[in-house]
Amino acid sequence: MVSIDEKRYPGRKRPPQSAYEQRYAKGRRTKFLGIRGYVIRPMWLALKSALRATFGSQPDVFYTDKRGPNTLLYPKEKLQLPDLYRGKNEVVWQCCIGCELCARICPNQCIEMEVFEADRVSDMPEELLGPNRSTQDEKKNQIKRPGIDFGRCMFCGNCEEYCPTGAMRMTDEFELANSSRDALVFEAELLRVEPYTLEGEVKLQNKIREIPLVDSDNCTGCQLCMRNCPTRCIEMVDGPKLRKDKPIKNPKVDTSKCVGCATCMSNCKFNALKMEAV
């Protein structure tokens, strides 16, 4: 007997069926009909389900055949969350360098940086010192730390992914429901996690893979970029342009330390810097 496909497309063979198609083409459903398929089999399945739900030996393990009922008594029992679950954020203040990359990368723009007065270097134990500008530079004792409005957050995890030091992390906590929207705005202090022990030196990773490029036509050598860089990776060197017969100092980026946070670009008043993908 000629199938419809062969009539329509003579000489062409059907592609081989997938395992899923094969299973249903063979007719798993048509295998059991009549009193066996409509009475005995459903009743047997119901009995099996009832026995498993009643006498299941492992009530807290899911997705197995030996578990108890499929429902959880929620306030008493909680679901086992996967390792990569994205819940409420937390920020390791000691690790955070205040680069604002999380605020820049956030799709919903729900992260805002707050400014704090920081302690001096001399007040801190040395092993806790991170690559924090405020703790490294005694001249400047201001730090910026992120606060998050969870009413707008969509838990995409970009902030965790792009954080150059791993200070921003997402926890398993998901019980954020509240009756007012204001209570969903978590200030920086609420996200703070301490104490935190650094294992060696914090590695700075340029996860966004962008570095600033200097346009020496526009640069005036004002050093704003150097002062504001959170990792202090910018160094002023002699540029090609001259002013009063002296070369203008242009920024030079140490690419091993740059995290691509674009703080220099946003601070530049002459559009002399722009971010370029590496």
């Binding site: 459903p42 009743m43 119901a46 009995l47 389900s49 009832a50 499929n70």
Partner: protein
């Protein structure tokens, strides 16, 4: 256990105990007060010179009040009182068991559906009081009558359903002595009362003036004939074997036969179970109340405790159906006497309860396993499968009867 004797003994004990301490002094005082006022009226008439004997005229009344305890303890009054109390006791017992069935149903449904069932409302964290909470919720609801409904029929339909169901209990024996009444035609009466329900459903569905309720009522009337005839034919087979319409006589005949009727007539028992599921309108034959197709079937427009009573009635019908199944096919209350002091008296009631509970577990298991059939499917199934098989079952019963008479089985 002869419940009439027990209840009468308890009543006599209570009334005679109360008689000396409370009833006689109280009613004696009442009679004295009445006599005092009567003598006042007599004295008033004496002022006009009329010679009357009002106290003597009302002598029968006052003496009746004085002897009220003896009136209560007389045979006629005592038998009426006993019958009333027995009715109330059996009604309360059945209703308590119905509440247990609802709990069982919800819990087992939960487990079959891979859930836990009622959990939080209860004494020890198992949802025992969930039915009480639901009943309270239904009590607090407003009773709304649809504006364009047929008001009288709308209100009468649940009354027909509930009263006909409770009348089943009046003729249903739970042992040789544990019944409200055991008439000679008990099985006929019970099946007649069972068959009243589709009328109530049709009336209620029509009176609600709603397309879903009307379809539900019509479905009930349409499917009634298809399951009613095989059901009555299987019962006819049992009656041929037993030779009596009396429930107690049928159980006695089974113990004389030496075997439950469900064993030689396993075919009839299966047909009976299928038909009784259709009779009490449960899945897979709950066409009048098809939740997925018709909103809530014929009860769509009913609300509040009226709806709650309709649900309760459905479970009572389930209980009665299971009890009839136990009596006709599973030997009723016959079983070995339980050798425990205190329980040996009510061992018959315990055995029939065990059988009823097993049948009800089967009902619940069937309900949450099988899909609902269509109207044409139940008609096809009832007329073309169950009816010939039920007739064949009648032939089996006649054969057993003839051979038994020939070879002297019973």
């Amino acid at each position: 256990m002869d419940i009439y004797q027990v209840v009468e003994a308890i009543l006599v004990w209570i009334i005679s105990g109360l008689g000396d301490t409370i009833i006689t002094p109280l009613f004696g005082l009442l009679a004295t007060i009445i006599e005092f006022f009567l003598s006042l009226i007599d004295g008033f008439f004496d002022l006009f010179g009329w010679d009357t004997d009002i106290v003597g005229f009302f002598e029968p009344l006052t003496s009746f009040i004085r002897d009220f305890t003896e009136f209560l303890l007389s045979d006629t009054v005592m038998s009426i009182l006993t019958a009333l109390v027995v009715g109330i006791v059996i009604l309360v017992l059945v209703m308590l068991q119905v509440i247990i069935f609802i709990y069982m149903e919800r819990k087992i449904f939960g487990r079959i559906g891979d859930r836990r069932g009622p959990k939080y409302v209860g004494l020890i964290d198992h949802g025992f009081l969930q039915q009480i909470a639901d009943a309270l919720k239904l009590f607090l609801k407003e009773i709304i009558t649809p504006e364009k409904s047929d008001k009288m029929l709308y209100h009468v339909a649940p009354v027909i359903l509930i009263s006909s169901t409770l009348m089943i209990l009046a003729a249903l024996p739970f042992s040789e002595g544990f019944y409200i009444s055991a008439p000679k035609g008990g099985i006929l009466f019970i099946m007649a009362m069972f068959a009243v329900a589709p009328i109530a459903i049709l009336v209620g569905g029509w009176a609600s003036n709603n397309k879903y309720t009307l379809i539900g009522g019509m479905r009930s009337a349409a499917m009634m004939m298809s399951y009613e005839i095989p059901l009555l034919l299987t019962i006819a087979a049992v009656i041929i074997l037993a030779g009596t319409f009396d429930s107690i006589g049928i159980v006695q005949a089974q113990s004389d036969f030496g075997m439950w009727y469900g064993i030689p007539m396993i075919l009839g028992f299966i047909i009976f179970m299928i038909c009784i599921v259709a009779e009490v309108e449960r899945i897979p034959f709950d066409l009048p109340e098809a939740e997925a197709e018709l909103v809530e079937g014929w009860t769509t427009e009913y609300g509040g405790m009226r709806l709650g009573l309709i649900w309760l009635t459905e479970y009572t019908r389930m209980y009665c159906g299971a009890a009839i199944g136990a009596i006709l096919f599973l030997g009723g209350w016959s079983g070995p006497t339980i050798p425990v002091p205190g329980l040996d008296v009510i061992s018959g009631e315990i055995w029939i309860s065990v059988k009823i509970y097993i049948i009800i577990l089967l009902f619940i298991w069937i309900r949450w396993s099988l899909p609902r059939v269509r109207t044409d499917q139940i008609l096809h199934f009832g007329w073309r499968r169950l009816l010939p098989l039920a007739l064949f079952n009648v032939f089996i019963a006649i054969g057993i009867k003839i051979l038994g008479d020939m070879w002297g089985w019973f």
